[in-house]
Symmetry: C2
Subunit: 391 residues, 2 copies
């Protein structure tokens, strides 16, 4: 599904594209986060017009609310939320281990309490794939355990063993669903998953292993042996120093098959994206553009604008003079400052829209720079301007 188009001459940066049932995505690219079937504050039309080619949603959240029945009856996640482009759904492994209470890893899956209503839930690698098949997402992620930093060696080893086992079971279940409707899977599930799998939902493996580089290497080898449509690096941005994150990526990415997509989960800031594109990463997701937008922080090529700052009270310039999004075309800093001062929703909308536009533009600029063999210069120029005003 992934086609490598061009490799940068000086770095590991690469331009490519991948094809899904809901359209093509050029890489490197960034996925705005629509955790609960909505990219917060925005309509799908706005998200698309901002330049977004693919969004991320989350199986853990959707499983709890609104649940499989509702989305199945709506005809899948795309129809439910009125987004007709590609969707990647995270498995919820990260959420099970960060949000839920009393989680307990058993042989066959994880028992946990919902962070919303305390209800007892039980998921398995199989049920998580099955749920994503009901969602009909273009890319499904396997259930994994995302360990935090720091983490003891023996726990990391034990965890990786489980994660790899789950990855194999996810792959097996996905293939079985595609092959065989008369398996022991309940009939409604089987028919639904067959239908979905026939639509070529892809399944990605997730490289874990914490900050132990040999475990990362082991994880990659085991996942490749199982075989996936693409590979993600998880367990990043979980408390480790930035330089250690880059080191993990430096070791891990070159081990991944060149003809598969490389997805860095939960990354990141513009700086992180540039640093890791340079190391060979293809796609990213992060709550930063939308969450920062709702908190009143706008990304610009000259650094961040914290719009609540009193200095913007009478500033009739746009958020970013170089940006052509509706927020920058139609509204001033003074007006958006006013909206945030009085907690008006339009303010959250405008900065969310601007920020995902900024991210989409950044990714486009990165692709063009790699194509033109000037990625290193682009990165240097961007970070020089960007840092300058962040101080």
């Amino acid at each position: 599904m992934y086609k490598l188009i061009k490799k940068d001459k000086k770095t590991k940066a690469r331009v490519g594209k991948f094809t899904t049932q809901h359209g093509e995505v050029s890489t490197p690219n960034f996925m705005p986060v629509g955790t609960s079937a909505t990219v917060k504050t925005l309509t799908p039309e706005e998200v698309k017009a901002a330049g977004t080619e693919i969004i991320l949603s989350n199986a853990y959240h959707l499983m709890l609310r609104p649940g499989a029945d509702v989305i199945k009856e709506a005809g899948g996640l795309h129809k439910f939320m009125h987004w007709d482009g590609p969707i990647l759904t995270d498995s919820g492994g990260f959420q099970v281990f960060s949000l839920s209470k009393l989680r307990k890893i058993k042989d066959d899956g994880v028992e946990f309490q919902s962070h919303i209503d305390g209800s007892r839930q039980f998921i398995t690698p199989e049920s998580v794939v099955e749920f994503q098949q009901v969602l009909g997402s273009d890319i499904m992620m396997v259930l994994d355990e995302c360990i935090h930093y720091p983490c003891q060696r023996d726990y990391a080893e034990k965890s990786l063993k489980i994660t790899t086992d789950w990855a194999r079971r996810s792959r097996d279940w996905s293939l079985a669903g595609a092959r065989d409707t008369s398996s022991d899977i309940s009939s409604s599930v089987a028919s639904s998953s067959l239908a979905m799998t026939q639509k070529k939902q892809m399944l990605f493996g997730i490289v874990q292993g914490g900050a132990y580089l040999d475990l990362r290497k082991q994880a990659v080898e085991e996942l490749i042996e199982i075989g996936f449509d693409g590979y993600a690096v998880g367990g990043l941005s979980v408390g480790e120093p930035r330089e250690l994150m880059y080191e993990i990526i430096d070791v891990t990415l070159p081990l991944l098959p060149e003809d598969n997509l490389h997805y860095l989960m939960g990354v990141g800031t513009p700086q992180d994206i540039l640093e890791t594109v340079e190391r060979g990463a293809d796609i990213f997701d992060c709550v930063v553009p939308t969450r920062n937008g709702r908190n009143g922080t706008a990304f610009t090529s000259k650094g961040n604008v914290k719009i609540r700052n009193a200095k913007y009270t009478k500033d009739n310039l746009p958020i970013d003079e170089e940006c052509v999004c509706p927020c920058c075309k139609d509204y001033t800093r003074a007006y958006i400052h006013h909206l945030f001062s009085i907690d008006e929703i339009l303010g959250l909308r405008l900065l969310s829209l601007h920020n995902i536009t900024f991210y989409a533009k950044l990714m486009k600029n990165i692709r063009e720079a790699i194509t033109d063999d000037r990625f290193a210069e682009f990165k240097k120029g961007f970070l020089t301007n960007y840092k300058e005003k962040e101080k």
Copy 2:
């Protein structure tokens, strides 16, 4: 500024239009409320696309936040909020007497404490017009005292005396600003107000008098003697029974000049609008469509849909099958129910948008019905369907 086009044969309902510096408005019409320079949750483009021809904003709120300086520097309210259609600004009389603390009516104006930060404020009829001239609204409202229901006769009489005095002073100040830049008004104010008045901002008087019909009559006579560009009936929907409100309107509206606009302030529900269009009212404003939208209640021709209701969990119909707004075209009740269940902003946006579309459509249907001499039938048909499901 108002042109009567057609009178209904059976009722006092009438179709007309009025012209402002920012465009024409057909009547009867409804103004969505943009209290603080934003129609809550929506962009001006969305408000316009919904069929809205004029919006209302509020001098009291804008005076406190962001204040005259900010809006003046932005070049007026239209530019500040990026709405290029007509704006009517309420004076804030209602807010001074309902929101603020420790208000004290003095000879020359009102002293009150801001409901936001407790700061001491003093406004006069003149300063309120002056502020609306800085805003550059198309229709300015005079400062008035909006008394509540019930109200003692002697208080109502005393209050009306003040309100009429303020109305005269507002008119005088507005005319003086237009005529004479070398008056004793400070030069910056004078030049700004001259500029604004040259742009033909209109000034409306407000009929008060509580539930005392003879005071209402007296108020109308005094206001007509002073002379305004249009006349509003205020002090409605302040706790009085609905039938009494209609009685006040029955007595008051026929006394207003036929060749001026009749504005019913703070009214109302679809039913109230139909009942009072029948009595000769031309324009309306009310927070109901936007506030109800944010609370999860959608207006439809068949009655209200309370979208949080569990029965909508798997309902894949649109909010209103007869509506063509983006909310009804693109999203299902099940999805919007989900958004409200998880407190997602997109839900507030979609129902706000639908509700103002519903109001704009209602007003269009009313105008067409009057034009076609079938207003009474339209009203009866609407209320029959609408009530049916409201139970």
